[in-house]
């Protein structure tokens, strides 16, 4: 499900660091009044739009904090007139069911995938950026091409393969699938970053007779930290939020949260407690990561990819 465009938005001259508020030109008093009124209207419109984006998630949170009986009788917004109705019953029900196990499965899938993608992609990216070998440019173009291959293409072949090898349904199977489909973007991102490392640093290290592995581990990898952070957060969120790969490759004992919650969708009304609290818990960690590492998140996205 990685969607990537092979180029960061380019054509951006670097002299545009000036402030933004300075957009409107100076005018007479009448003009200023018009601006002021216009700006008031803009403020109102933006508040409304902001609410459109904020309120649905807020609704989920309130629903998760009320009982099924209350939720089936009235909308969550009545909370503003009846604040006493809040309860954590839904969360208790959720955690006493199969959710806790699926939460750990999500962690067991996400963390190894992220580590593996970073390690394997960084090595390949270093080779693409700083080593000469025949067919290098063509091989990298293949990586660029693979950026947007739909994962649907691999579901059936890999399911058959896993069946033959005997890892169908297992966590390692899910992890390997994620790693492989995370690699094109990861290699692309890191190679573009590594290319910018000053050649003098590497040449000095090579002159000193350092091995390639040493250079990679002690020069390139540390210098690449900003890009690796972007990649890491992206990869983490992508795998954490995945549902399709889990639906196909994780059996019930190894299923992550997304698959567990999906299996509860059929009785949407009666499972509202589990679904709302589960969905809310599943999005808490991505939201914390997002707010904490927002800068890397946006960087990763800007450099040409989205989940």
């Amino acid at each position: 499900m990685t969607t990537a465009t092979a180029s960061a938005p380019s054509g951006a001259p670097s002299d545009a660091t000036s402030g933004l508020g300075a957009g409107a030109p100076r005018r007479g008093i009448a003009g200023k009044i018009v601006d002021r009124l216009g700006s008031g209207a803009v403020q109102v419109v933006m508040v409304i739009l902001g609410l459109f984006w904020l309120v649905p998630t807020l609704g989920l949170m309130v629903v998760s904090l009320r009982t099924n009986q209350v939720n089936s009788a009235e909308g969550w917004w009545t909370i503003f007139t009846k604040p006493a109705e809040l309860t954590i019953t839904s969360y208790k029900n959720l955690l006493s069911g199969g959710f806790s196990a699926s939460f750990w499965n999500t962690v067991l899938i996400t963390v190894p995938t992220t580590v593996l993608v970073i390690g394997i992609a960084a090595m390949a990216a270093y080779a693409f950026a700083w080593m000469e070998f025949p067919g290098r440019d063509t091989a990298f173009l293949v990586v660029v091409g693979l950026l947007i291959v739909p994962i649907q293409i691999a579901l059936i072949p890999i399911a058959v393969l896993y069946g033959n090898v005997g890892i169908f349904g297992s966590i390692p199977g899910v992890v390997l699938f994620h790693v492989a489909f995370g690699l094109p973007f990861a290699i692309f991102l890191l190679r573009n970053f590594f290319v910018g490392i000053p050649a003098s640093l590497l040449e000095a290290a090579r002159m000193d007779g350092a091995s390639e592995w040493k250079i990679f581990a002690s020069v390139v990898f540390p210098l690449g930290k900003p890009a690796i952070a972007s990649l890491g957060i992206f990869q983490f969120l992508w795998v954490w939020n995945d549902m399709l790969i889990a639906l196909v490759f994780a059996d019930t004992g190894n299923q992550p949260m997304t698959k567990y919650l999906q299996s509860q969708m059929r009785q949407f009304g009666s499972n509202m407690d589990i679904l709302s609290s589960g969905a809310f818990l599943s999005l808490i960690i991505p939201l914390i990561l997002f707010f904490a590492f927002q800068r890397y998140f946006v960087q990763g996205m800007m450099s040409g990819s989205v989940k």
């Binding site: 933004l20 909308g75 969708m265 991505p286 800007m302």
Partner: protein
């Protein structure tokens, strides 16, 4: 922590992967001390193996598998592809994908552009961007649950219909009383006339008009209905509309008894000849009064609309609206992406060009249309293409938001691929053909990416 969503201050060239060390177009050509190709191969090997086995081999496998039947033993040639383009359900699926590809990218890009422009005019731009961008971090599964709640049919539970009915009722105040009817009989002062209720005798000011109604369902009885009370006869035409039914029996038909409730929100018309001379709405106790009506006798009428069901909003999750409804959720998820990219692009536009145009007397719209948009077109293209690719692959949102019974009408190729291969269809030949179909759809963008990369790196 907020510097990036504050992004306009950072030109995209340095936000990109190249970061501070510069863009990717400085090819390391003049290296002398390179390792041997064998070392390079060793560094590439893990990635090459994974990509070879999990990505490249499946493409070849799927092409071959798509030429065989469900079991994988019988060769059917292009039969599976023929099924894609002839089967009725499949055609709905393809039609839906077409709607997605045409509609969703345009909406997302437009909204992203509007947001990017508007955020330049508010002081709390960073907070706004954080809010709009937030859904990007949330799983599509969770976004699906969020929108299942928003689209609930009942206006008492679903936010979308709650807003719609509130807006609707603001402009059209009639409270619906479906299946309510006038008390029939010779004694009754009113009669049914083609769905409307009219008084049998002409009414004048000074004598309250009694309109007894029966058959009001408890479910539609408004919570604010107060005990009915006929208004004091004044010099205006007035009266009362009430539920002529005393709970537990008792009470006299056609008379306002102590506990009987008024029917608020009824539209009442005073009719003379064929013309409506005045309109009033009943109060909580069911009373109404026509102010400023010329003296004389009128027929008092409760129009048919009073007895139709109240407006209940739209059935978002029904077969007709399901795809637009899911596209709405998609826009909610992706608008932040478009906005952040476009805001960074906007920040990179040289201020001089805009100022010069304004000096020459161009209006803000002309500046936007003739300068901003053309200068922004590379970023607009990136956003647009990314959205096209995303809509082609859309899966989670449809799977989660569309109720099981409506999934055939909401179906898209990526979902159908999963369904026929794993979700009960058990036809991996057809599934492979659908996967190849998806691959063919993204192929032009793959080629576009490769071309652009070559152009920018030579």
């Amino acid at each position: 922590m907020t510097e990036r969503l504050d992004g306009p201050k950072v030109p995209p060239a340095t936000t990109a992967g190249g970061a501070a060390t510069g863009p990717a177009d400085t090819p390391p050509k003049k290296r002398r001390l390179g390792p041997s190709p064998a070392v390079a191969i060793a560094f590439l090997l893990p990635a090459a193996l994974l990509l070879g086995i999990w990505v490249v081999y499946p493409i070849v496998y799927s092409i071959i598998r798509s030429l065989f039947d469900a079991k994988g033993s019988g060769f059917v040639g292009l039969g599976n592809y023929a099924t894609i383009f002839t089967d009725g359900g499949m055609l709905t699926t393809i039609r839906n994908n077409l709607i997605w590809v045409v509609v969703a990218p345009i909406i997302v890009t437009t909204i992203g552009l509007i947001f990017a422009v508007l955020t330049e005019r508010i002081k709390w731009a960073t907070a706004f961007k954080l809010i709009v961008f937030m859904p990007m971090a949330v799983s599509l599964m969770a976004a699906g649950v969020i929108f299942r709640l928003v689209y609930e049919q009942s206006p008492d539970k679903g936010l979308a219909n709650a807003i719609l009915t509130t807006v609707h009722d603001t402009f059209s105040s009639s409270q619906g009383y479906p299946e309510a009817r006038p008390r029939e009989g010779d004694q009754s002062p009113v009669a049914d006339q083609g769905g409307a209720v009219v008084t049998k005798q002409p009414a004048q000011a000074g004598q309250p008009v009694l309109i007894p109604i029966v058959g009001v369902k408890p479910a539609v009885m408004p919570a604010n209905a107060a005990p009915a009370k006929a208004p004091q006869p004044g010099n205006a035409l007035s009266g009362v509309v009430w539920f002529d039914f005393t709970a537990g029996g008792g009470g006299t038909s056609g008379q306002v008894d102590g506990t009987e409730k008024g029917l608020p929100g009824m539209t009442v018309e005073a009719v003379r000849g064929d013309e409506v001379a005045g309109t009033a709405t009943t109060a909580e106790d069911g009373s109404f009064r026509f102010e400023g009506l010329p003296a004389g006798s009128y027929t008092v009428r409760l129009p048919k609309a009073n007895f139709e069901a109240a407006y209940g909003g739209l059935s978002w999750l029904g077969p007709t609206l399901i795809t637009p409804a899911i596209i709405g959720a998609f826009v909610w998820v992706w608008a932040g992406f478009a906005m952040v990219l476009l805001a960074a692009g906007l920040a990179a536009i040289p201020r001089d060009a805009l100022e010069a145009a304004r000096m020459d007397g161009a209006t803000e719209w002309q500046v936007f249309r003739r300068i901003t948009v053309p200068l922004l077109s590379p970023v607009l293209l990136v956003v647009f293409v990314t959205m096209i690719i995303n809509t082609l692959k859309v899966f989670d949102l449809v799977f989660i938001i569309a109720p099981a019974s409506v999934q055939p009408q909401a179906n898209v190729v990526a979902l159908e691929m999963w369904r026929v291969s794993f979700g009960g269809g058990n036809n991996q030949g057809l599934g492979s053909a659908l996967a190849i179909f998806l691959l063919v759809l993204v192929l032009p963008f793959m080629i576009m990416n490769i071309r652009r990369f070559r152009r920018e790196n030579t």
